[in-house]
């Protein structure tokens, strides 16, 4: 119903010839642009006619800096792209280096990587859950989600020694072995996850206000999503069953049994459901990986100065926010000739103008939250 009303508002707003349109400058300092995104809105009343995003307020010259560093030195920089999912950033960086240099990763290391990456996905989705509801005006879920995410952060601190920018995954394996304390914590976390998820569902998921706010808002069709290069939960919400962990497997993922949740409507609510379902699937993957954790080395023997042969590589993984890719060019020396990061947030934002057209500003905020951007990754 709300959607039809916005449609009729849109129809009326468009039929008026002399409607007083104006420019509204949202951001870079705005509570819910998730950092320093700047949107230039052409509005009519509260109806958004067109959006012109401006990036670069968090640009840190990643590509230019890394060209002067060796491959190993470049890895800690990748922590800073998506500071809510640093592990996956390390993962794609190490994956690119290993493909380029042909490094064999031990099996135990791969398993540890999978466990860590899925925990990171859960943490990132939890944080998204909090911020999404915060954008919609609910304050409690944010605190609950952050309090829950804190457990994962503790696990990562126990493993890597850092709480935000864990430089944990290294070319050829991981930094330290997964010790029994962290293992116990992971097991506890996984075991009490279902209760937490039930609490979240009771708290907000069935809430009628949330449903009317999210349902049918920011609809994106599947063909349009593919045309826009959308990836991750936003793409899956449009009905496309595309997940790099299944379609282009890149680690030991083929050995685990998990499902790829998809929805058909492509609205914000279906993105919501996808992410909530992905948390469950990630928990299942972690459980399987823990149950069959092989013994062995946690890190291959890597020369101090990696000298990959000449050539290019495009490595991509399924990060929490979509396909996180890395195009790396080696000229045979110890330093990469060119490094490019394919940011999922930036490319998901390409469709923002399309899916928010004719929606009121309140919906724009909801849609922005449901795309789940991190400006660190958008600007690199």
């Amino acid at each position: 119903m709300a959607f039809t009303l916005t449609r009729i508002q849109r129809a009326e707003a468009d039929t008026i010839e002399d409607s007083e349109e104006y420019i509204l400058n949202m951001g870079p300092q705005h509570p819910s642009t998730h950092g320093v995104l700047r949107l230039l809105l052409r509005c009519d009343g509260e109806i958004v006619k067109e959006i012109k995003p401006y990036f670069g307020y968090l640009h840190r010259c990643y590509s230019k800096v890394v060209e002067d560093l060796t491959y190993v030195q470049g890895v800690p920089y990748s922590d800073r792209w998506d500071y809510l999912a640093s592990m996956t950033n390390n993962h794609v960086n190490c994956l690119a280096i290993e493909k380029l240099a042909g490094i064999e990763v031990p099996r135990r290391a791969e398993y540890i990587r999978v466990i860590i990456a899925e925990l990171q996905r859960i943490a990132s989705h939890l944080f998204w859950f909090g911020t999404q509801v915060n954008d919609l005006g609910g304050y409690t879920p944010f605190m609950w989600a952050v309090r829950h995410r804190e457990k994962i952060v503790d696990i990562f601190e126990e493993l890597s020694g850092a709480r935000l920018t864990y430089h944990y995954m290294r070319p050829g394996g991981v930094m330290r072995d997964i010790n029994s304390k962290a293992g116990k914590w992971i097991e506890e976390f996984i075991k009490e996850l279902p209760q937490h998820m039930r609490n979240y569902d009771d708290l907000i998921m069935g809430n009628e206000i949330l449903l009317v706010r999210m349902d049918g808002v920011g609809v994106l069709t599947s063909d349009l999503a593919i045309k826009y290069g959308i990836s991750g939960p936003v793409l899956r919400a449009t009905g496309v069953k595309w997940d790099l962990r299944k379609n282009i497997p890149y680690s030991v993922y083929p050995e685990f049994d998990f499902e790829i949740p998809t929805r058909q409507k492509g609205c914000s609510l279906s993105r919501w459901e996808i992410r909530i379902e992905e948390i469950r699937q990630s928990a299942r993957i972690v459980a399987q990986a823990l149950m069959t954790l092989p013994a062995g080395d946690y890190k291959a023997k890597v020369p101090r100065a990696i000298k990959p042969p000449k050539g290019d590589v495009y490595a991509a993984i399924e990060a929490p926010r979509g396909e996180l890719g890395m195009y790396m060019v080696s000229d045979g020396s110890t330093k990469p000739w060119r490094v490019h990061c394919r940011s999922s947030c930036l490319i998901n934002l390409t469709a923002l103008n399309e899916i928010t057209r004719g929606a009121p500003i309140a919906d724009l905020i909801a849609i922005l939250g449901s795309i789940d951007i991190v400006l660190g990754e958008t600007d690199r």
Binding site: P76, E157, G161, M175, I190, L193, P194, L203, L293, V302
Partner: protein
């Protein structure tokens, strides 16, 4: 059991033994059963009672209001820092405050942000070591705390310690650019034993200094 790989973290021994697959094998089935759990009464009421979701939400916040709180009163109480935490640098000397660093400059070279600078001079013939470390400055405003310097160090004498309260209002030398005097401390005996254990097998390595391999005690 300790790898001879040079990139191994020096704090590996501090941590517990690495685990095998000693987790309970019913984890997955437990998860599936838990996720499948549905409250039928809830579903029925949700269909027929208007605004049932809102009432549920109110109920669960009511529970939370009277639940025990999880705040840590920071300056008074502090959370324990994990072993192997990557905080401010620590420059270890041996238990007799004899300098362990051989001024090879590996940490300076590996640092991605060039936040370490060292000054040394040739030692006199009387002393066992070749070089005397004069200055060891770490610029914390630049540092990424990536732990690479600690992993590359052939003497395992520079590590990232557990100190995380190093914020300051000025950036100058001694405040956020910590000096040798600030970060240097004696290694405890077990730390020193671990360092010896790591160095022992690779006495003849080109990077290590053979004369310093076995100090007297």
């Amino acid at each position: 059991m300790i790898e001879k790989d040079q990139n191994i973290a020096p704090t590996q021994k501090h941590l517990d033994q690495p685990i095998g697959s000693d987790f309970d094998q019913n984890l997955l089935s437990f998860l599936d059963s838990e996720f499948k759990k549905r409250k039928t009464l809830d579903a029925i009421l949700g269909r027929f009672v208007p605004l049932w979701g809102i009432l549920k939400g109110l109920n669960i916040t009511r529970k939370a209001i009277f639940a025990p709180k999880s705040t840590i009163q920071y300056p008074e109480q502090k959370l324990p820092v994990a072993k192997g935490f990557r905080g401010q640098h620590v420059l270890l000397t041996d238990p007799h405050s004899e300098q362990l660093c051989i001024c090879c400059g590996s940490c300076v070279n590996i640092c991605p942000v060039n936040c370490i600078e060292i000054k040394f001079e040739q030692a006199k013939e009387t002393s066992k070591r070749k070089r005397d470390l004069i200055e060891y400055n770490v610029d914390l405003t630049k540092c990424l705390f990536c732990n690479l310097c600690a992993e590359i160090c052939p003497e395992f004498c520079i590590i990232l310690g557990p100190k995380y309260e190093y914020s300051d209002i000025t950036r100058g030398l001694g405040n956020l650019m910590v000096t040798k005097e600030t970060i240097e401390r004696r290694a405890t005996n077990e730390e020193y034993d671990e360092i010896l254990a790591k160095k022992g097998p690779k006495k003849s390595a080109a990077t290590g200094d053979t004369t310093k391999a076995k100090p007297e005690n």
